[in-house]
């Protein structure tokens, strides 16, 4: 049994912050049905980022703007526990897919709308993309080291898409737990903007003044002389994390600085942080005297926390690492058009109700007929809906029309 066995989620989302949450909920055993426009998800053209958020879903291509299409959508909602999407404010109401409408079909429904900005407020009518909320949440300022005269820096990982999606997934599961215990459904929302601020949740004001928090250095190596990257003799790098007193003493031992290490001004982590400039200039030339490999061996022997940053060739070494594959951290599946794909696998392990990857990212409308049959439509009904472009299933023109 999977943790979320028997849970059905209808995913009306497009792009990334919508579909990613349902994908992860699917990995926990829920059945996820992606309702895709007959013209395809607007993000399909993005390829890798798009496919990264779609695995394991069943896909019905449906024109929800048509009278027959919306009836099919309502039938899907009746069969579901969760509805999830990222439409801009007002769109769901216009499409008659808002919570007030849908709870008439399914009174205990969990209904989640993820927004760019939020439900109410001065900018809530705007959509927007991830970089805006990396900006507003303080990420780009800190990542780039703007206070040193550097340009702001965008994190390439799509941080707030993922954060918003995961907030929505946590919210859906908490609401579903409440529903299972009380029979009550509810509406919930999250936003890219709030998702951005979560990354800066260590930021605080006291009497309107910022409480000091770690800041990156000009060269983007780290936030402390003992929590940063150092360049080694072979032009490689090593990351150290000599956070606790014992780590500092062990590090100093390996670097030949034992006498200095016990001086009072280096006695605590806070005082060592104050001496960052001196420690940086002391340690940088020492790290240049041995290779990264030599350092890490010495550090491991002396219990100094350190790692050599891994150059993964954009994930390839991680996705083909034997331990990662064996432990299920890598998922491999065969896409009907693109062939074999690999992506990260299970992110949470359960002793009794293991996760699973249900399959590859679906083609547009790949499961249209199967889903319509499960809703009681006959093949003749389906053919009629196809003929009227209310639904779509892959045909000989598929590649030309959608690529993948």
């Amino acid at each position: 049994m999977f943790a979320l066995e028997g849970v059905r989620l209808i995913d009306f989302g497009q792009y990334l912050a919508g579909p990613f949450g349902p994908m992860i909920i699917g990995d926990l055993g829920a059945e996820v049905i992606k309702v895709e426009p007959v013209t395809g998800d607007g993000m399909r053209m993005a390829n890798a980022p798009y496919f990264g958020c779609q695995r394991g879903k069943k896909d019905i291509a449906l024109d929800i703007k048509s009278p027959d299409g919306i009836e099919i959508a309502y039938d899907l909602v009746r069969s579901a526990d969760i509805v999830h999407h990222n439409m801009t404010k007002g769109t769901a109401t216009r499409l008659k897919l808002d919570y007030a409408t849908l709870k008439e079909f399914k009174p205990d429904l969990v209904y989640c709308n993820t927004y760019a900005y939020g439900l109410e407020g001065p900018l809530s009518h705007f959509g927007g993309l991830d970089p805006l909320y990396q900006a507003s949440g303080g990420l780009e300022y800190e990542a780039g080291g703007v206070q040193h005269g550097n340009e702001p820096l965008y994190y390439r990982f799509g941080m707030t898409d993922a954060s918003n999606a995961m907030l929505s997934a946590v919210g859906c599961l908490m609401a579903l737990f409440h529903q299972r215990r009380t029979g009550e459904g509810q509406e919930l929302w999250t936003s890219l903007m709030d998702g951005g601020l979560v990354f800066s949740s260590d930021a605080m004001l006291v009497d309107g003044e910022p409480v000091p928090r770690p800041r990156i250095d000009k060269d983007q190596t780290g936030i402390d002389a003992l929590y940063r990257l150092y360049r080694t003799q072979d032009d490689d790098w090593i990351q150290i994390a000599a956070v606790q007193d014992a780590d500092w003493l062990a590090l100093a031992g390996v670097l030949g600085l034992s006498e200095l290490a016990t001086e009072p001004r280096f006695a605590t982590a806070a005082s060592r942080h104050e001496q960052r400039a001196e420690l940086d200039s002391l340690l940088e030339p020492i790290f240049r005297t041995r290779t990264a490999r030599q350092w890490i061996l010495a550090f491991d022997d002396a219990a100094v926390p350190g790692e050599i940053p891994m150059e993964t060739r954009d994930g390839e070494t991680v996705l083909f690492d034997a331990d990662n594959v064996e432990l299920g951290l890598v998922a491999e599946y065969e896409h009907p058009v693109r062939g074999l794909m690999r992506q990260f696998g299970n992110l949470i392990d359960f002793s009794d109700t293991p996760g699973h990857i249900a399959g590859p990212p679906p083609m547009v409308g790949q499961h249209t007929r199967e889903i319509l049959r499960s809703l009681g439509r006959t093949d003749a009904d389906v053919d009629d809906l196809l003929a009227r472009n209310v639904v779509y299933e892959p045909d000989e023109g598929y590649i030309e029309r959608f690529g993948y």
Binding site: M1, L4, P49, G52, Y117, G118, F126, G127, L129, P131, L132, A135, S136, G138, L139, P152, R156, F157, M159, A162, L167, V170, G171, L173, M174, A175, F177, H178, R180, Q186, T190, L197, S200, A203, M204, V206, P212, Q220, G222, L226, Y227, Q239, P305, P309, M310, T312, D314, G315, V318, L319, F320, L329, R338, M341, L347, I348, D349, F350, S351, T353
Partner: protein, 394 residues
């Protein structure tokens, strides 16, 4: 009004970011969270962020290395639904409070473990600070920056993935328990937290082509979305977006006072040299404008644009305020603070900040007393009177 997790009791033994911040989402939606600390306190209380990550819970201390402390903790775990811990694999078993032991008397118990690496991995015993997992998982090399080589990620990425996996795993196990009547061991790791953020960039294809990975490909200097960052007057920066979901009323070039600029299609088909000339013109136009004024004008014309600000400045953002993300919390150490609010909005069972980070062992009398321990008995395992050993700096 009751929270979604009302009646769920969670014992949080974890330190750092992943456990405390992950549990926070459950604590602020109704769960009764008790932070279980060693006698001197969680050694990571010196982090500025700990005041936020550890709020909305009570605190007890217990020395798990003593028989009396172990017995008291086990008695407390018998009253709990969830135990969360972030020790290296095997430490809980060595302390005699592993899943097998605790579930023998409380089979409904869910134990959520957050080591740095998954149990069974050859790295399982490697040190587990966030930056080390950034390094080992390849994220530092994956991020472009202002020099070649690995870039330190100021935002602690592996932990920031785990903060979502922790409440998700616990919630899923609670949902499963409604059906099975049994708890289970749930495990995630900082390493898996880092993998979460590779969704958009790490998709291996047997039959790869450049176009498939083009959009999010790593470039030097940094590529995707970086070109939409502009400097305004006074050294202030903005990020504009290609998409707002609304129809622009005027062209951006018109707003910038630029004449004779190509439309998007003409720009794309121009030569690299011409494109650079247009880009330089736009950069100069941005640089001549006051940021606040320009943002107002762009937004009024339906362009999505945000000031690139510090996290502290975000507390003044009108939409952050509208979202309830600017909260006032009276912290017993710092006083009146402004902190992040509750980011998940459940409209039927709204979340709420329950209280500040408790002081070390603040609720010893209340909680151990509730289990029948007199303050004198409890002193044998709470280490009452011992001084905190906190770590500052990072």
């Amino acid at each position: 009004m009751a929270g979604a997790l009302d009646g769920v009791r969670i014992l949080d033994l974890s330190w750092g970011i992943a456990g405390p911040l992950g549990v926070l989402m459950l604590a602020e939606h109704g769960a009764d969270v008790i932070k279980v600390e060693p006698p001197g306190g969680d050694p990571f209380r010196g982090y500025s962020g700990a005041h936020v990550w550890n709020r909305s819970r009570r605190s007890v201390t217990v020395d798990l290395k003593t028989d009396a402390g172990r017995a008291a903790f086990t008695a407390l775990a018998d009253t709990a639904d969830v135990v969360v811990e972030s020790f290296r694999p095997g430490v809980m078993d060595r302390l005699g409070v592993g899943y097998e032991t605790l579930s023998a008397t409380n089979p409904r118990l869910i134990v959520c473990s957050i080591p740095a690496y998954p149990p069974g991995h050859r790295w399982a015993d490697r040190p587990g600070y966030d930056a080390l997992v950034q390094a080992s998982s390849g994220q530092q090399w994956a991020q472009p920056g202002w020099r070649m080589g690995p870039i330190f990620l100021h935002m602690p990425m592996p932990s920031m993935g785990s903060i979502f996996l922790v409440p998700m795993g616990i919630s899923a196990a609670l949902i499963a328990r409604e059906k099975t009547g049994r708890g289970q061991q749930v495990t995630t790791s900082l390493f898996q937290g880092a993998l979460l953020y590779t969704t958009q960039i790490w998709l291996w294809l047997e039959d790869a082509d450049a176009a498939f990975h083009g959009l999010m490909a790593k470039t030097y200097p940094p590529g995707v979305h970086q070109q939409m960052i502009f400097e305004c007057a006074n050294g202030e920066w903005v990020h504009t977006s290609v998409m707002s979901g609304l129809t622009p009323k005027r062209s951006m070039d018109d707003i910038l006072g630029l004449d004779d600029m190509p439309d998007a299609y003409a720009f794309m088909s121009a030569s690299a040299e011409e494109r650079q000339q247009y880009t330089d013109l736009r950069r100069a136009a941005f640089k001549a404008r006051d940021r606040a004024e320009l943002i107002g004008e762009l937004q009024a014309n339906n362009y999505a644009v945000e000031a690139i600000i510090t996290a502290e400045e975000s507390f003044d953002h009108p939409q952050i305020i509208a979202n309830g993300m600017r909260a006032t919390v009276h912290d017993p150490v710092l006083g009146e603070t402004t902190q992040m609010g509750v980011p998940i909005k459940l409209l039927g069972t709204p979340g709420t900040i329950v209280g500040p980070q408790p002081t070390v062992g603040e609720h010893n009398d209340e909680i151990w007393g509730g289990l029948g321990y007199s303050p004198a008995d409890a002193a044998a395992f709470t280490g009452a009177g011992s001084s905190p050993t906190t770590t500052g700096g990072t």
